[in-house]
C-alpha cells in the first residue's frame, strides 16, 4: 500500500509536468464578416473607439527607435484628426516563428491586435474566418490620397497589379494590404572572384556552375544557400528550377479569373497550382519533373555550400559571407543595409543567369532567369474579424487607408527603408533601388513551397528535397514519396478554400 502511495505522487507530478505540453487555451468564436455595404467607412460619421495596431519591424522601439518615433508621429497625426479614436501601437514581437505563435495564441483568445501583420500565405490560408475581406473596400476611394492620384478613386490603384495578384487569397479575395516587397540578389565577394579569375558575367547556368567548381578548387565555398524543413533560402532556388522545367506548359494552367492583362507569364495562384496537380499536369510522371530534379541536383552538387542542410539559418549565411566563408550569398533587400555596414571587402550584387535549352529543353526564357521576390515584407496588414465584431471596422479601415496614403507611408518607409516600397508615390531607397535589375525579370511560375499549396505540404516538400540534395535518397524514391504529398496538398488546399472543382 505504501508502495502505491509512493508511486502515485510522482506519477501525478509527471502528469502535471507534461500537461504543459498539451494544455491549450479556450476557443473563441469568430463570427461572419460584415459586408462592405454594412460597414463601409462613412466619411461623415464620427469615428470613435480604441484600436491596437502591430506594424511589425516598423515599430521596434528598442532596435529601431527612430523608425518607431516616426510611426508614433503618424499615429498621433491620425488621432489628432480623429480625437475619438485611440490607437495602441504593439511593439515588435520577434522573428516569424515567434510572432506566429504569439499571434495564433492571441487569435485563439480573441485578443490579437485589430490591425496586424501576418505573412500573406498564412493569412490567406486562414481566410475570412479570421480576417476581414478587403476586396470590396479596395474598390472604394481612399480619402487620404490627393485628388487625381492613384488610389484617390480606387484604393487598390495604390498597389502594383503583381502585388495584388500575389497577395490574393485562394478564394480570390484580398485579406491584406501589402505595402513593401522583398527583392533578392546574389551578393558576391569581388576580391575572391578576382583571385579566382572569375567575372559574374555568366551567360547561362552552366557557366555559373563551372565557376562554382573553380571557387571550390580555390578552397572557397561557392553559394550560401540553406535548406531546413522550415522556410529556407533553398525555396527560392526551387522556385527557379520548377519555373524553368515547367515554363513551356505552366501558362496553360492559368485560370481566366486570375489573369492580369499584359502579363503572359506570371506566378500561379495557389488554386491554379492545386488544379494543375488535380488535373495531373504537375506530377512526378511528367517528364519535366525529372528535368526539375536534375536541375536541383546538378546545382546543389556544383554550387551550394557544404553543410547546407542543418545548423544554418539566414543570419548564418549573412555571417558566413561577411567572414568570407562563402563567396556568394543569396540574400534580400532586407540584408543589404546590414551588409553595407559590416562587410570589410569589396563586394557586388548580381543574379543567377538563365537556364539554357541544353540543360532544360523546356525552358522558354533562355535570356533571363526568374525574379524571386515577393510581398512577404514588413508591411502586410489585415484587420481581424474580432474588430468587426467589436464594431470597430470603420475605424480600422479608415486608419489603414490613412496609413497607406503615400504622404504617410513614405515617412514610415523612409525611417526604415530595408525593402522596396509598393505604394504608388513612395520612392525606393538607394539600396533598394540597386535591386531594380531583378525586377525586370520574368516572374517565377510558382511561389515558395510553403506557400504553394499548404504550409504542411511545404514542410514535407523541404524534408524530401533535403534528403535528395544530400544524396540520401535518389530521384525514384523522392518521386514515390512526393506524388502522394502533392495530391494530399492539393486536396487539403481545395477543401480549405472550398474551390468548386474539388469533387471532380
Amino acid at each position: 500500500m505504501l508502495y502505491w502511495k509512493r508511486m502515485l505522487v510522482p506519477l501525478v507530478l509527471v502528469a502535471l509536468f507534461l500537461s504543459g505540453c498539451a494544455g491549450t487555451a479556450a476557443p473563441s468564436d469568430s463570427g461572419a464578416t460584415d459586408t462592405a455595404a454594412d460597414t463601409a467607412a462613412d466619411a461623415d460619421a464620427e469615428l470613435s473607439g480604441s484600436l491596437s495596431f502591430y506594424p511589425q519591424n516598423y515599430y521596434n522601439p528598442e532596435a529601431l527607435p527612430d523608425a518607431a518615433a516616426v510611426v508614433e508621429a503618424v499615429r498621433d497625426e491620425y488621432t489628432t484628426e480623429n480625437p475619438g479614436v485611440s490607437i495602441e501601437l504593439v511593439p515588435y514581437v520577434g522573428d516569424a516563428n515567434t510572432y506566429r505563435s504569439w499571434l495564433l495564441t492571441r487569435l485563439s483568445a480573441g485578443q490579437a491586435p485589430n490591425i496586424t501583420w501576418e505573412q500573406y500565405s498564412d493569412r490567406n490560408a486562414e481566410g475570412a474566418e479570421v480576417w476581414v475581406d478587403l476586396t470590396d473596400y479596395f474598390e472604394q476611394p481612399n480619402p487620404y490620397v490627393a485628388e487625381g492620384e492613384p488610389g484617390s478613386k480606387r484604393w487598390a490603384d495604390l498597389f502594383p497589379d503583381y502585388v495584388l495578384a500575389q497577395t490574393r487569397g485562394g478564394d480570390g479575395r484580398w485579406y491584406e494590404v501589402s505595402l513593401d516587397w522583398i527583392e533578392t540578389g546574389l551578393f558576391y565577394n569581388k576580391e575572391v572572384f578576382t583571385q579566382a579569375g572569375i567575372e559574374p558575367d555568366w551567360t547561362n547556368m552552366e557557366d555559373l556552375m563551372a565557376d562554382c567548381q573553380a571557387l571550390r578548387d580555390a578552397g572557397v565555398e561557392p553559394v550560401g544557400v540553406f535548406i531546413t524543413p522550415e522556410w529556407s533560402t533553398y525555396q527560392w532556388l526551387d522556385d527557379i528550377f520548377f519555373s524553368s522545367a515547367f515554363s513551356d506548359v505552366g501558362p496553360e494552367w492559368y485560370m481566366e479569373k486570375y489573369n492580369i492583362p499584359g502579363r503572359d507569364f506570371r506566378r500561379l495562384n495557389p488554386e491554379e497550382f492545386a488544379k494543375a496537380v488535380h488535373d495531373g499536369h504537375v506530377s512526378v510522371d511528367n517528364e519535366r519533373f525529372d528535368v526539375y530534379l536534375d536541375l536541383v541536383k546538378q546545382f546543389t552538387d556544383a554550387c551550394i555550400m557544404d553543410g547546407f542542410a542543418g545548423g544554418v539559418a539566414l543570419a548564418d549565411v549573412e555571417r558566413m559571407f561577411v567572414e568570407g566563408q562563402v563567396s556568394m550569398a543569396w540574400l534580400t533587400t532586407g540584408s543589404a543595409t546590414g551588409l553595407a555596414e559590416s562587410v570589410k571587402f569589396d563586394y557586388g550584387l548580381t543574379y543567377f543567369p538563365p537556364i539554357s535549352n541544353a540543360m532544360n529543353p523546356h525552358e522558354i526564357h533562355t535570356d533571363s532567369s526568374y525574379r524571386v521576390g515577393g510581398p512577404s515584407g514588413n508591411a502586410q496588414y489585415g484587420i481581424t474579424q474580432v474588430t468587426a465584431q467589436q464594431g470597430l471596422l470603420d475605424e480600422a479601415l479608415d486608419f489603414l487607408m490613412f496609413w497607406t496614403a503615400p504622404q504617410n507611408f513614405s515617412r514610415v518607409y523612409d525611417s526604415y527603408p530595408a525593402l522596396v516600397p509598393m505604394v504608388a508615390g513612395v520612392e525606393p531607397s538607394e539600396i533598394a533601388a540597386e535591386f531594380q535589375f531583378v525586377a525586370g525579370m520574368p516572374e517565377r511560375l510558382v511561389g515558395d513551397p510553403i506557400a504553394r499549396l499548404t504550409p504542411q505540404f511545404g514542410t514535407e516538400h523541404n524534408r524530401l528535397f533535403q534528403q535528395f540534395m544530400l544524396g540520401e535518397i535518389d530521384a525514384e524514391t523522392l518521386k514515390t514519396q512526393y506524388q502522394p504529398l502533392l495530391e494530399q496538398g492539393a486536396t487539403d488546399a481545395c477543401t480549405q478554400n472550398e474551390w468548386d472543382w474539388c469533387g471532380e
Binding site: 505504501l2 508502495y3 509512493r6 508511486m7 510522482p10 506519477l11 509527471v14 502528469a15 502535471l16 509536468f17 507534461l18 500537461s19 505540453c21 498539451a22 494544455g23 491549450t24 479556450a26 476557443p27 473563441s28 468564436d29 469568430s30 516563428n97 506566429r100 505563435s101 495564433l104 487569435l107 485563439s108 480573441g110 490560408a125 486562414e126 474566418e129 479570421v130 565555398e221 535548406i227 531546413t228 524543413p229 522550415e230 555550400m305 557544404d306 553543410g307 542542410a309 542543418g310 545548423g311 544554418v312 548564418d316 558566413m320 567572414e323 566563408q325 499548404t454 504542411q456 514542410t459 514535407e460 523541404n462 524534408r463 524530401l464 533535403q466 534528403q467 544530400l470 540520401e472 535518397i473
Partner: protein, 305 residues
C-alpha cells in the same frame, strides 16, 4: 476559563491554517494545470483549429492519423533514441563527476569544483544550443577544426547536415553534461550519506570502486531514479535543438514529438491534432516514469515497502 475556551477554540481551527495558506497555490494549480490537462484530453478527440470556431468531436481520428504518419512515427523513434542515449550519458558522466568531487579530501576544493561545474547552468539554454551550432559548423566549427588539427581531418563531417549524424550531434549537446540538475542531485546525495557506513567500509578495507558499487549506488537508488525521471521527461519534451538548429531535419532525422506538436499547433493551426500529440507524450512520460519507479522499488533495501 475564557482563555482556556479561546485556546481550545483556536486549537480546533489550527488545522485549517495550513490549508488556507495552500489554497491560493492549489486554486492556481487547478486553474492552470489540472483544468487545461483535462480539457486537453477532450480536445485531443476533436478537430479544432483554435480560432476557427468550436471543436468538433472526431473520436480517435487524430490518434489514428498520428499513427499512420511516418514523420510522427520517426519523431517517436528519435525521441526514444535521444532519451535513452542521453539519459545514460548524462547519468554516467554526472555520477562520475560527482564521485570525483566527493573523493576530494579538501572540503574547500570540493566546494570550488562544485561551483565551477555548476556555473554554466546559469547560461540560458538557447545560448547553449547556439554555441553548439558553432561547434558543429561544417566550415569553421571547433569540432571539425580540432579533428583536422590532430590529423583526423577525414573524420570531419557536416554533423548537423546529414541524417546519419544529426541526431547523434544534438544528443551530445552539452557534453560533458556536468552542468545539470542530475549532477546537483548526485553531489548533494553523496554528501548526505551516513558517515558511519563509509567509516565502517574504510575500516573493512573497502576500496573506492567497491565502495561506489556496493555502498554509494545502493544508497542512491532514490536520487538516481529522480534523475532518470527528470532526464526522461526532458527527452520526451526536447524541442530547442530542433527549433534552433535543425528544424527536425535533414528529412525527419531529428524530428521530435514536441517539435511536431509545435508545428502542428502554431504553423498548421491544427490544435486538435497537436493536443493528441501532447496526450501521447504524456502517456509515454507516465509509462517511462512508472517503469523507473518500479525498478527503483524492486528489491529495494533502503525503503520500507
Amino acid at each position: 476559563m475564557t482563555n482556556q475556551h479561546q485556546s481550545a477554540s483556536g486549537a480546533r481551527w489550527d488545522w485549517l491554517t495550513p490549508y488556507l495558506f495552500l489554497a491560493p497555490a492549489f486554486l492556481l494549480l487547478i486553474a492552470l494545470r489540472y483544468l487545461p490537462a483535462v480539457q486537453a484530453v477532450y480536445y485531443s478527440f476533436t478537430e479544432w483549429k483554435g480560432f476557427f470556431g468550436s471543436p468538433e468531436f472526431v473520436g480517435f481520428s487524430n490518434y489514428s492519423k498520428l499513427f499512420h504518419d511516418q514523420i510522427f512515427l520517426a519523431s517517436l523513434r528519435n525521441m526514444v533514441v535521444y532519451t535513452v542515449v542521453r539519459t545514460l550519458l548524462v547519468l554516467g558522466m554526472t555520477f562520475f563527476a560527482a564521485e570525483l568531487i566527493y573523493s576530494l579530501r579538501n572540503p574547500t576544493m570540493q566546494f570550488i569544483w562544485q561551483v565551477l561545474l555548476i556555473i554554466p547552468m546559469i547560461i540560458p539554454e538557447i545560448v547553449v544550443f547556439l554555441v553548439w551550432g558553432f561547434v558543429f559548423n561544417t566550415q569553421t566549427g571547433i569540432l571539425n577544426t580540432l579533428l583536422t588539427a590532430i590529423g583526423l581531418g577525414s573524420w570531419a563531417q557536416p554533423w548537423l547536415s546529414q541524417s546519419s549524424t544529426a541526431l547523434w550531434a544534438i544528443t551530445f549537446i552539452g557534453f560533458p553534461f556536468v552542468a545539470s540538475i542530475p549532477f546537483l542531485i548526485f553531489t548533494s546525495s553523496l554528501q548526505g550519506m551516513p558517515g558511519e557506513v563509509l567509516e565502517a567500509a574504510k575500516l573493512d578495507g573497502c576500496n573506492t570502486l567497491r565502495r561506489v558499487l556496493h555502498i554509494d549506488l545502493p544508497l542512491m537508488r532514490g536520487p538516481i531514479t529522480l534523475a532518470v525521471i527528470l532526464l526522461i521527461l526532458e527527452g520526451i519534451r526536447v524541442l530547442l535543438p530542433q527549433l534552433v538548429l535543425t528544424g527536425g531535419g535533414p528529412g525527419s532525422s531529428t524530428e521530435s514529438p514536441a517539435n511536431y506538436l509545435y508545428r502542428t499547433a502554431f504553423q498548421y493551426g491544427d490544435f486538435g491534432l497537436a493536443t493528441a500529440v501532447g496526450m501521447i507524450m504524456l502517456l509515454v512520460g507516465l509509462v517511462f516514469s512508472y517503469l523507473s519507479l518500479r525498478i527503483r522499488y524492486q528489491e529495494a533495501t533502503d525503503v520500507d515497502i
